[in-house]
């Protein structure tokens, strides 16, 4: 895109529009858009039936079910624990609160492979958490539960960090009004506070879900990667690539990409809905 088309309707008095937008669009195309296009066109070399054969393979279906189902369960867990953590961080004061607050971002900052081996060790039969549980006959590492644990870990900050600013800005007047009108604390929380947190909670849970669907590093170590049981979809892409089955890998990749686009669309709709409520 050249600046020429914009020149007679000068977008601003400042210089550098053509250069900065030109570079932005060029870099975006080279790094992001063209490679993604390469993924979208790739699986069709085996035709739609070939694409369908890859996707409807029981092993692929099971992996997709685990990635999407596990991500959904993890998002629900975070949608319950996340608001409690955010509430405590915003409304209460206690020693070490700053530290607790800074730690929330750990899953963003800690490389996923490190989180993966740490969770795997922690929840294995000789780990700090896994060992007591194993005496109760509960196994977490190398089962689908392990997958869900890893996905919950990775998603927690999305919910907490989306809720915190909203909770901070939340006026206490409606709460006072509710209390004055005779509502008890529980009624005030569930009927007054929670409804106003709902959009942020939905946004945070959607972000956590999106991240978890595609998550790889923190999952593969704790999952055990048993085909059709604890094998996630991204791992199957890696396996297909190792067998030089590019079209098969691309077919699963396209499904994951479609899910990403669906999430972006959902988030935009959610944002519009929030905008209208204001």
């Amino acid at each position: 895109m050249s600046a020429a088309g914009f020149r007679f309707r000068n977008p601003s008095a400042l210089p550098g529009f053509g250069l900065s937008l030109g570079f932005t669009v060029f870099y975006l195309s080279v790094i992001v858009l063209i490679p993604i296009a390469a993924l979208i066109v790739r699986p069709w070399e085996i035709g739609f039936s070939g694409f369908w054969n890859v996707i409807s393979d029981p092993r692929v279906l099971a992996a997709l079910r685990l990635s999407f189902g596990g991500a959904a369960i993890a998002a629900v867990i975070n949608a319950v624990t996340g608001p409690i953590v955010a509430w405590v961080l915003v409304r209460y004061n206690f020693p070490g609160k700053r530290l607790l607050d800074a730690l929330i971002d750990l899953p963003f900052a800690l490389p996923t492979a490190v989180a993966g081996i740490a969770l795997s060790q922690l929840y294995s039969a000789n780990g700090w958490v896994g060992e007591p549980l194993s005496h109760l006959g509960i196994r977490i590492a190398y089962t689908p539960i392990g997958v869900i644990i890893a996905l919950t870990f990775i998603g927690l900050p999305f919910v907490v960090r989306t809720l915190q600013p909203v909770l901070n800005d939340l006026s206490r007047d409606p709460e006072e009004a509710a209390a004055t009108l005779g509502a008890n604390r529980w009624q005030t929380i569930t009927r007054v506070v929670l409804p106003s947190l709902m959009p942020a909670l939905l946004t945070g849970a959607t972000l956590a879900f999106a991240r978890a669907v595609g998550e790889y590093g923190s999952v593969i170590f704790i999952a055990g990667n048993l085909p059709t049981v604890s094998e996630i979809a991204p791992l199957l892409i890696v396996i297909k690539l190792e067998q030089y089955d590019y079209a098969g890998a691309a077919a699963i990749g396209v499904v994951m990409l479609a899910a990403s686009f669906a999430v972006i669309l959902a988030l935009n709709l959610l944002q519009n809905w929030i905008g209208k409520r204001r």
Partner: protein, 282 residues
């Protein structure tokens, strides 16, 4: 008792219960995994852990991680500044769409991010044949690792700077240019001082991700020891080789990087809250 409590305060018992749940969640999911990394690394003493780090393959992995970040982070920082300049300082059609496209890499699975480059540069990719004839290796070599890292960390600086520069408006820059400053001078003397802390914040997060990225890099690397293993990949190789102390020793280096990043991030948020978009977003 009941009258003493302000009507918008929680019952003391629920305060305690909720605090315990929050601390429990953070301990179980965040503190214990972090503590595990360091305990496992030091399980056989500091000497054994150090040996694992002193190993030539581990050193090569550290070097590759540093090289990768040294290329990817500046490129994405320059891009972030250019993109936010175009988006925040000018009006044009499709601005919202462009912003969505810039955020795209955040929504895509790391494995898919690596896959797209294999489909282009891999042996059976678009340019696979011609690259082989020209004897240029991108996949299973350093260029592929750098490309995948650039893709993964693509939005970090831009998404911090775009809202920040939109909030700051254009008045100061317009004043500078109308007084005769050149575009470059305006940027260096007006814009850059205004966005420096936000830029640093974005670079910090970008760097942490660039050094720690695993999934995307794993797909394009080929895991050749001493050649195409970054630190996170070296952790994987050692762990799958049952060299647990070594794996956790390298992992603890990465965990330290994460902790330093968190400390600096909190410091920036606390000290320069007004100059960072992430802390005054509504």
């Amino acid at each position: 008792m009941k009258f003493r409590r302000y009507p918008t305060q929680d019952h003391p018992l629920s305060r305690i219960a909720l605090s315990l749940i929050a601390i429990g969640v953070v301990t179980l999911f965040l503190v214990l995994p972090l503590a595990t990394v360091f305990t496992e690394a030091l399980r056989k003493g500091l000497g054994v852990a150090w040996e694992a780090l002193d190993d030539p393959d581990a050193r090569a992995a550290v070097r590759l991680t540093l090289i990768t970040a040294a290329i990817a982070v500046p490129l994405n920082a320059v891009f972030g500044v250019a993109a936010s300049w175009a988006i925040a300082k000018f009006d044009f059609k499709g601005k919202q769409f462009l912003t969505t496209l810039i955020d795209l890499p955040f929504s895509i699975s790391p494995v898919v991010s690596g896959l797209i480059y294999v489909l282009i540069f891999g042996l059976q990719g678009w340019f696979g044949e011609s690259l082989r004839e020209a004897n240029v290796k991108i996949i299973f070599a350093v260029p592929g690792i750098v490309l995948a890292t650039i893709f993964i960390t693509f939005p970090f600086v831009a998404r911090e700077l775009i809202p920040l520069m939109e909030d700051q408006g254009r008045d100061e820059e317009e004043a500078a240019t109308s007084l005769g400053a050149s575009g470059w001078d305006t940027f260096m003397r007006v814009t850059l001082p205004n966005i420096r802390w936000g830029l640093l914040y974005g670079v910090l997060l970008c760097n942490a991700r660039a050094m720690g990225e695993f999934g995307a890099v794993s797909v394009v690397s080929g895991h050749i020891r001493g050649l195409t293993n970054t630190m996170p990949l070296h952790v994987e190789v050692l762990y799958n080789d049952y060299q647990f102390v070594g794996a956790f020793a390298v992992a603890s280096l990465l965990a330290l990087l994460a902790l330093v990043t968190l400390v600096l991030k909190s410091l920036l948020e606390w000290r320069f809250a007004d100059d960072i978009a992430a802390t005054h977003r509504h």
